[in-house]
Symmetry: D3
Subunit: 154 residues, 6 copies
């Protein structure tokens, strides 16, 4: 775990997303609160937040970080749900892994709660969208070229 | 957490994959053991195994399960790595979530170790490939139709 | 941690409750979903379930147990909420501690989400209501005598 | 998990208590060190301290906090034990939840170690007594009115 | 994590020890209960028990095991303490690692509580003494040859 | 957990070692990458790093610390392996326990992966080598006197 003791504590933000592709009927069921195991969106949000805090236990070389905020939102995306996570800290290293881990955990929780009716769901495009703060500065995902976008909309 | 006390303990297997798309240079660096933070493939394998064991902490409604085996392999996939996880148990409920969680953790670990040189990597297609055992029996992912496969090969 | 290896695996159930006394306005706010931090009841249910699974980490001498089911419900109780937890297992030792720990965690979660508007909330009467299974058999809480009940209704 | 990145790091203290009502014989047994499972008071103190550190794992929306001190004491209280917890930090958010969680864990540990002889024990009055530091300043529990105190002494 | 699903559940026991060499004054202080941080022996016992339960989180390839009993004792050993741990299970794989991990955690806890007065303490001879059960049968440590024993008594 | 809130945040370093004595054949097998369970050195390094982060869960009175760096190296030592851990932080309390816990976890991981061929391995001399920073300043282990060294080389 590389030494970050010489880095300054600065405000850092990371934004990550995960998309979970599912049957249209599954999405409808979630949105109408008809999933037997409970409120899927509330559970996924909490799972994301809790996973952000446990990132150093899941990703071996991650530093323990004093997270100052974690926000997890879920919104419909074609026939699926998009998880969007914003993590903030004032620390010596970035929170990209926390945001990505939270996004995975939220998507896995949706999968878990709906798998009995839609085992084929696919988590696609877990990816960093933005990071800022720290020595390496700001990074934003370049929007994919038109052709790639077409492919993704399969 | 639904009661599974009435279910029988049977042998259960789940297979999940995750694909991490990266720059060709990143894949090469990993394969040649030139990543500064250490042996990426060994770290990802261990992270996957450890995450499988912690699934009930990450996915809120998962039962604690007596895992009898977890196998994580990583193999090159076009310009990327495919993580493949096989989880086995002899218990009252399936291990799909353990396999999927392990696949995510392994992919996240690869991302973490290489992000300084390739922040744009994308985890694609975290998905169940196979499950067997238990009341709901065997399930295998239906291969995507030719057109979909084409799209995926972008 | 006493040796339970010689005990039989039997079906075991434990029921515990916790009551959280609060301002009437706080209860109303929770019930109408107006708490800023999110859906309190959904969060408390999940926190209870997750805490049941982590009981051996919280209570030093508790055995790790293969929980087969955990159910957490919250219902209004005068000017407060009553958490009720049912935990089930088929194992060598009982699940009273899991039920009590889950009840505490659910109540603590309600407190946490509402504390900015009602710091004086009190968790009262965390108690076992019922247990069955195992060598020591069934136990049910004897209803309190009339006088005690009066006192409790203060 | 609300963003506290804009708050100042200040000294913060929280004091919480929990009372565990038990049979007089149970209290005596604890005080005389005659409980088979070991030294109840020492175990409860440690369990409280360890639980304070794990609060963000138990209470979903709690921030990870750099605790600077945790003190857990147990003292007899009529026919029972009172757990008193003092938690201190120099951080951006308060430690009320850490103090309350530690108080619950200590009380649960006493229950666990004595339950074979007194299953009817009740954890009563888990409550914050004091907090100081931070934007919302100092808060002290208002002593209950005479009538309430009477009721509590049932 | 190798598949043990085909192994039988049998009774298994493992015994491990750890020796912590310290100044005579430190041992005396522990035995007379004069260590400022509290009851060292009680804390070490609990730490050992809790660590046994967390072994799969500490040792990457360890299976999660349904421990049926853990016993940790500490006894003086020349100018030091010997930790002795007995772990039992009825499961598909052995509990050697649980016993060794518990022995380390207990010794580390003693070190932690006394380090301000004796930073030079050394944990020596963390080792398995006995295991039984399972396909590989019973194993007992062969007593060291006279010459080795002499050396150890330095 | 003693209050460290009044201490200054300073750079602190701790170095600990653990030596694992094994059969010459076992060491050779590890060095040639012929251990069935995988790459022992990579696994031990990761286990050490992860354990450093979980120290407050393993050692009851340890403060949660913002580790800024953890480095675990393994090198042959006569017929055995020496684990060397360097832990760094900028915090209010030292990281000796993190270094020692990491050293134990790394050694335990080597044991676990090789125990089927060499159950008699012994973890010897888990000890602090150096600490610096903080009020108590720098401490270095005094090299053992010639006679002791002879004994150790048995």
């Amino acid at each position: 775990m590389v030494d970050v003791g010489g880095k300054k504590k600065t405000e850092r933000v990371a934004v990550a997303v995960a998309r979970l592709r599912m049957l249209a009927a599954t999405l409808e069921r979630i949105q109408q609160g008809q999933v037997e195991k409970g409120d899927v969106l509330a559970a996924a949000r909490l799972a994301g937040i809790m996973a952000a805090k446990r990132t150093p236990d899941v990703v071996p070389l991650c530093h323990p970080i004093a997270l100052s905020g974690v926000e997890v939102t879920l919104a419909p995306f074609e026939a699926g749900l998009e998880v969007r996570v914003v993590v903030r800290t004032v620390d010596r290293t970035g929170v990209e892994m926390e945001a990505l881990t939270a996004a995975c955990a939220a998507a896995l929780t949706v999968y878990d709660m709906c798998k009995s009716v839609d085992r084929g769901m696919v988590i696609e495009n877990v990816q960093l969208e933005h990071k800022s703060g720290g020595r390496s500065g700001t990074w934003d995902r370049t929007p994919p070229k038109p052709q790639r976008r077409a492919a993704r909309k399969r």
